[in-house]
């Protein structure tokens, strides 16, 4: 210490003498809770990816049925069970509108003279003419009356676009076809006993009949179902319904869960005890029991399924909110507000509940995929909605029709629901990390 005593005083100068010292103004912007959450969310690449996929699916669920497809409800007798044909992918051999037949017993072929069985392309030959009696499951080829087993595939779209003979159609039907320009050549008029009701035999161009201008235009992106309805439109309409179920369940769950949990957690004591026992008993019922009872009672519709899902799902939310209330209700700032005369409702909603906002947002995001999942599961069990479409219904229907023969009916809804689950989970996980204050600045 002594050595410093001899330093000359002139070597020192005042930092400030007359001016006042102020805190420096922050040059950076203050980042609030949500600003910080967004910043941390964006940094998490997989969550952002999940979010983007999710937004894309939601957009498609809204506009998908109206673009690129052929309407949800129109039935096309001529174009039932069309395989998927996606123009860009068809060059790669995926979804190219062909149907494969494996190990078919073949007895009879109409155009056997035109085909050389020793030819390598034999199996890939365009085998339409061998389809007799409209029986597509059994291809019948006569090969000197010997039964041969062949694997082959053919272009379903080429086959279905061939003109076909329509017998005994009425005048109005004939005029209808003629207006569309679908009639090829002259019709044969059949004289019936009633002069006023003529019947016709016509050669019909199916493309024109259903409003396709050319072969290039003639494709169903996801194929068609057994009634000739466009699967592309149906899949997106089903996605919409599933998302709506999820959204509805999430909204009701959050509302009920937050209110129940708030009351239970805020008042505590006997109120809490009774409310917790009630919730405990309700949560003890397995969802399959609730689902069965609700469906038996209210029938299989969107409302009853959403209700059944809500009946148990709110308990998790209410437990979470309740524990938040237990943590915060004794804090000094709450006490201060109470001393200042704040009413219970103000304390609950203004002072304590915002603490639980992060977990509430996260859980509401994660409830949606679990509701969609449960709904699909119920559809698979045969208890699902009886009218309309949902992803689960489409999956179950495709399954019932037969997945080996018509895989595209199941594959596309399966892809959509998987993408939906993955993106919701990624998004929810990212949200959970971003909204968790304890992880703030941890990375």
């Amino acid at each position: 210490m002594n050595e410093y005593k001899h330093i000359d005083a002139s070597k020192f100068e005042f930092v400030q003498m007359d001016t006042k010292i102020f805190d420096k103004k922050f040059e950076t912007k203050a980042i609030g809770y949500f600003g910080d959450a967004v910043r941390r969310f964006v940094r998490n690449k997989s969550s952002v990816m999940g979010f983007v996929i999710l937004v894309l699916i939601i957009i498609m669920a809204i506009i998908g049925p109206y673009i690129g497809g052929h309407g949800i409800h129109q039935q096309r007798q001529r174009f039932e069970q069309m395989p998927a044909k996606i123009p860009l992918l068809s060059k790669l051999g995926i979804a190219d509108g062909t149907r494969k037949y494996k190990q078919q017993n073949v007895e009879f072929i109409k155009s056997i003279d035109e085909v050389d069985p020793s030819d390598e392309d034999y199996k890939n030959y365009f085998f339409i003419e061998c389809i007799t009696w409209q029986s597509k499951e059994r291809i019948v080829i006569q090969d000197n009356r010997e039964i041969t087993v062949v694997d082959f595939k053919y272009d379903e779209y080429k086959y279905r676009s061939l003109p076909y003979v329509s017998n005994w159609i009425s005048d109005s039907e004939y005029q209808n076809l003629k207006a569309k320009g679908a009639v090829i050549g002259d019709p044969i008029k059949i004289n019936t006993t009633y002069e006023d009701f003529p019947q016709y035999v016509v050669l019909v161009d199916p493309l024109k009949e259903y409003g396709f201008s050319s072969m290039d235009d003639f494709y169903f992106l996801f194929g068609t179902d057994q009634l000739g309805r466009d699967m592309w439109s149906r899949v997106w309409a089903g996605t919409r319904v599933s998302l709506l179920i999820g959204l509805f369940v999430a909204l009701v769950t959050i509302t009920v869960g937050v209110i129940y949990g708030s009351i239970s957690g805020y008042y505590g004591g006997t109120v809490d005890l009774v409310m917790q026992r009630f919730a405990e008993i309700l949560s003890g019922i397995p969802w399959i029991a609730i689902m069965t009872l609700v469906v038996l009672y209210l029938g299989a519709n969107l409302f009853s399924i959403a209700l059944a899902l809500v009946l148990t799902s709110w308990i998790g939310t209410s437990n979470m909110v309740r524990s938040q209330f237990y943590r915060y209700k004794g804090r000094e700032y709450v006490l201060a507000a109470r001393t200042l005369g704040a009413r219970d409702s103000r304390l609950i909603f203004k002072h304590i509940l915002p603490n639980a906002l992060g977990p509430i947002v996260t859980s509401s995001v994660l409830i949606i995929p679990s509701a969609i999942f449960s709904e699909s599961m119920i559809s698979y069990l045969g208890l699902g909605i009886s009218k309309g479409v949902s992803i689960g219904k489409l999956l179950a229907d495709g399954q019932a029709i037969g997945i080996t023969m018509y895989p595209y009916l199941t594959v596309f809804p399966a892809i959509i629901i998987s993408l939906l689950m993955i993106s919701f989970n990624l998004f929810g996980n990212g949200l959970r990390d971003a909204l968790n204050p304890s992880l703030r600045g941890a990375e």
């Binding site: 029991a289 995929p369 699909s376 045969g382």
Partner: protein, 314 residues
Amino acid sequence: MIKYTGKRIVLIFVTLFIILSLSFFLIKLLPDNTELSYLLNKVSKEDYELMRKRWGYDQPLFIQYLHWLKNVVFHWNWGVSTHTRIGENTFVLITEKLPITMRLNLISLFFSIPFGVLFGIVAALRKNKPIDYIISVFVILFISIPSFVVVTMFMLNAANMGLPIQYRPSDQVTLADMVIPVLSLSFGPIAVLTRYTRAELTEVLTSDFILLARTKGLNRFHSTVRHALRNSMVPLVPIIIGNFIGILFGSLVIERVYGVPGVAGILIESIDVKDYNLTMTALAFYTIIGLIATLVIDLTYGIVDPRIRMGSRK
């Protein structure tokens, strides 16, 4: 702990009683309750009246309920099947199908444990390395993709893999029939177990006593196997029981899709044909298992980690 366990067990019985009573009334009060009317086509009018009388359907609902309750509690008699196999005790019907379901579920469970733990350990030891990222991608996929989608995809490719496309009748069942349902059922549990094992093990590996073990001179292998693994395995017990419940309920759908003649089929079929006694018994089966599992999970949390005091006051 004992007091808490006792309380929980009493509560289970209360819950069970409430659920079963509620289900009984809700099912029997159904507006289109035609449980027996189809019998009229099969038997004569007199026989029909006799059957109604014998099964107590002629009495008021509340009396029926009391009879049913008495039979269940004192005689373990869950009522007769009125459609699936007329006159057979529904409990027998369930227990007949139970082995098929249980065999499938237990194989799935024991298949999922080693793989889940193994992947979790690998991911934890190679944290933030490529293999960890690969595993976490698969974890997200397996957790997200529903089991019924997995089973569908398997069935699509069953022929290529040389597996049966449907569960074959019981006299022809081999191990090959199990492959698809077991794999579909265990993907989810494997992912869940991997995720928890990784989280537990990373936490333990960074804890002080592992540091102590390393400073003592133990090499990485020994410190991991002797100290870290043991400590991280214990909290997995409740997860595994939770997985079992997941498998049990997931099996409802898988069995139906793959055509396995298990308990799931009974439940759905009984609803379709309005064999409501059987529906009740099947629901009771799932309720009881669900309740027991929740209790066991809660209790094991307390046992494996005494720091957690269940039901303690705040």
